[in-house]
Subunit: 491 residues, 2 copies
């Protein structure tokens, strides 16, 4: 394996692509825009799934599965939804191949579908068509369902994990008797996402609402969590939508109230995707490779025996390495012993750095004699010689400390990259000379939002939920504003 390194400072984009491939996370497939998620990358995704799934179940949700295909006509039923998704749909038109005259296989024109099927870009329409049969009475509500699935949105410019034609995600779809309940659900799931992002991914997020222009196609309100990557660009990491009664009306889903009147049902949907892998990589990693928070690392600790040439010493070192490995495993730590003899320790060190393993323990003959090990942290690259007494507890604490440190470092970076500006000159100056979020007053119109985007390429990432009311004037128009919003260039 040849490790070709690109520095973040030289070419952030090349650094990212390089890292994703070199650390064995994912690669481009033979199908344009679709990726292969490799075993190491998928193991991290599985850990994300497990953490999210646990949180969904703890908040009363159940998983289910709905069809991959959606009849074309379903899309027309919710007007803004079709506008949002029709331009990027994979369309199934036939259901059979046959042998052509020249020996090649061709599409069998006799097997043309009467109605084309869309490969789901998101499942609101097929799910609300199903809910019509599930919901008759207020006793059937709420419905709290989540689906883990693949979805397809035909993207012209793709980027591994960040924007791919097919991606993996979860989509929650809930049905409620009242608007209040649905809004509470929308906000609850935003909190679940924020908790997951900060405590598991170690990525600080701003919770906010999207502007009308950036809303999900079919939603009345879109809540989001926004992260800031190391290059100073923002990344939308998850969204939670209050859909009002739009889909209930489009698919005629009503329920009988306690008073026996018929009411349309209120809806939410919420999702995060393999895009989070991109957020994870771009928040913590460095020029040596991936940096993983211990809570998501498939290998939390690697033990590397430093084997000399003398056979009896080799055995002593190996025995000690095995004993330490067992001790850590018994503590519930995901530990790997790499005792390959034909690969040099130096190569192993570089490889586990590349893969982002949080802690490396090296053991040589001197360590055996001194009852010590050498412990190296991936995040700070600090090394220390440590006594083997209580090594399991010490490593457990170290892993917890690394998790905290990664979050704190990302939080400090993020907080250092929120630039407060008060007029158009300051706004432009900030965007031209700095990276990160720009906190500015905006007059609340889509017209101004689009004009600013056209002039600067910066978009409104969100109206932060925790912002304090503050009277000011829009940086572009000078019209009155009551709250600052966050602008940024974004992925």
């Amino acid at each position: 394996m040849e490790i070709k390194k690109v520095k973040r400072s030289e070419d952030y984009s090349a650094w990212y692509n390089n890292l994703v491939k070199q650390a064995d996370l994912a690669e481009h497939s033979a199908v344009k825009g679709c990726m292969v998620i490799k075993p190491y990358g998928y193991a991290i995704w599985e850990k994300m799934q497990a953490e999210l799934d646990k949180r969904f179940k703890d908040t009363g949700h159940q998983n289910a599965y709905f069809p991959l295909f959606i009849p074309k006509s379903f899309f027309s039923k919710e007007a803004s939804h079709v506008d949002g998704f029709a331009k990027e749909c994979a369309v199934v038109t036939h259901y059979r191949l046959k042998n052509g005259d020249d020996g090649q296989i061709v599409v069998d024109e006799d097997a043309k579908l009467e109605e084309e099927l869309i490969v789901r870009p998101t499942s609101e329409t097929i799910i609300w068509n199903t809910y019509r049969d599930w919901i008759k009475s207020h006793r059937d509500l709420p419905i709290l369902v989540n689906q883990w699935a693949n979805v397809v949105r035909w993207e012209m410019r793709t980027r591994l994990f960040l924007r791919t034609t097919e991606f993996l995600w979860q989509e929650g779809h809930t049905a409620h008797a009242t608007a209040e309940e649905a809004i509470a659900e929308t906000k609850q799931m935003l909190e679940v996402y924020a908790d997951f992002a900060e405590n598991i991914l170690a990525v600080p997020v701003v919770k906010g609402v999207k502007t009308a222009n950036e809303r999900f196609a079919g939603a009345l309100e879109t809540y989001c969590i926004e992260g800031l990557m190391q290059d100073g660009k923002a990344l939308q990491m998850g969204t939670s939508h209050f859909l009002g009664q739009n889909f209930a009306k489009a698919f005629d889903v009503k329920y009988a109230t306690k008073e026996n009147t018929q009411e349309y049902v209120w809806a939410t949907s919420w999702g995060v995707s393999t895009r989070l892998m991109g957020a994870l990589i771009m928040s913590h990693s460095d020029d040596e490779g991936l940096v993983l928070p211990p809570n998501l690392a498939p290998i939390q600790v690697v033990v590397v025996p430093i084997l000399g040439k003398k056979e009896e010493e080799k055995q002593l070192v190996l025995d000690k390495a095995r004993a330490i490995t067992s001790t850590l495993k018994a503590k519930g730590i995901a530990v790997k012993l790499d005792d390959r003899d034909h690969v040099s320790p130096g190569f192993k060190f570089a490889d586990y750095e590349l893969k982002g393993v949080p802690v490396r323990i090296a053991i040589g003959m001197r360590d055996v004699q001194n009852e010590t090990v050498e412990v190296a942290r991936r995040d700070t690259k600090e090394k220390q010689v440590m006594s083997v007494v209580d090594i399991d507890t010490k490593i457990e604490h170290l892993l917890a400390a690394i998790q905290v440190n990664l979050f704190q470092k990302a939080l400090d970076f993020r907080d250092d990259h929120i630039h407060v500006v008060n007029n158009w000159d300051e706004f432009n100056h900030a965007l031209e000379t700095k990276t990160g979020f720009v906190s500015a007053h905006w007059d609340g119109t889509t017209e101004t939002e689009l004009k600013i985007k056209e002039l600067t390429k910066a978009t409104i990432r969100c109206v932060p939920l925790n912002a304090t009311a503050e009277n000011g004037v829009c940086v572009l128009t000078g019209n009155p504003s009551t709250q600052r919003v966050l602008f940024a260039k974004a992925y």
Copy 2:
């Protein structure tokens, strides 16, 4: 909810369809041939996934993810593979919709794909095209990868879980340096499937190999596990294929040996699907509904308080029910307390019977006074009054006993339904008057196999692995045979 019951003896097929819907397992979707897996059904599938995934990881496999779409040309590369799958493929031909003249949305003919994409019916081709880049040297082998995914095979006649156009499955795809290793892997995964089927699903299986005619398209040998359903029809429950070098040759996947020669790589693939839900249902369930083995039951024990009218007694019963629930939960048992007041105990009893909950505990005022509970088993419908002393341990043992009993009952049924015959009259008589497997000599030719199928609708389910060598003559042709094979009518 109205429970409309059909007896197995009246109409097995209607009983099955009815049960799948009434027990909230799955339903037909708006898309022809595709199902919706409902939360209760999906919870059982998740338990199957967890058990299988653990076994895959314990045998050294890692999960990964490959694209949903396969370029059409990939199919042509392995000749028998395309023959096997081309006739049942969903084909994506366009990537955009647009607004038509009449206001309806239509397929945008300007967005036609240069090469059509097939929605994967199985992933050998896209995966072996990927493995070409992953495998250079013997050091890169073996590759032991599994994928959890949805696949699509365009079926004309569908049946919930048993045969649907889209289904969920896992597909293992491994690459090896030698034929021996690949064959050992194929057999190992067959054992994993058999262990899972017998110990988790409680369904006894015959392990065997398929005849050439029934082999997977592209395999040199297909191993299988075959179960017998309560109506006496066989069900193929899982397959493990030795693919030889077919896909390595089709996709030019070679490795450098230790001696630095170039060799084609050896392959296996193996899979089980949501079809196992069908096997589970048809093996154990009865006229009252689903019967679940405790190892797969989302709810293992339901506690139903029998609430009288006196408020203080109600509270005593509820307190006792809660205490018992906590005790069982602390033991790691999946227990649910159903303390709904507006639903009668009788209705609850019937509902949990329908849903197949293995154990029901009822607690009334007399039980509170006597320090007892009434325990009902779903499998035998036996009820007993039990002292609450050590109730957690007793219930744990009872769940284990139910698991064993379900397997033993299914095993007895299966063994009672293997009919040994020695000539064509006996063969026909068995098929006409009995259900189940017919064990008979066959001359080993596809011609005879197809002739028998044409005459009787029975197919060769497998050549059992554990059969003893025995000289005999083919029931149809009288030609010599050295081993009996199992015939049956099958799903």
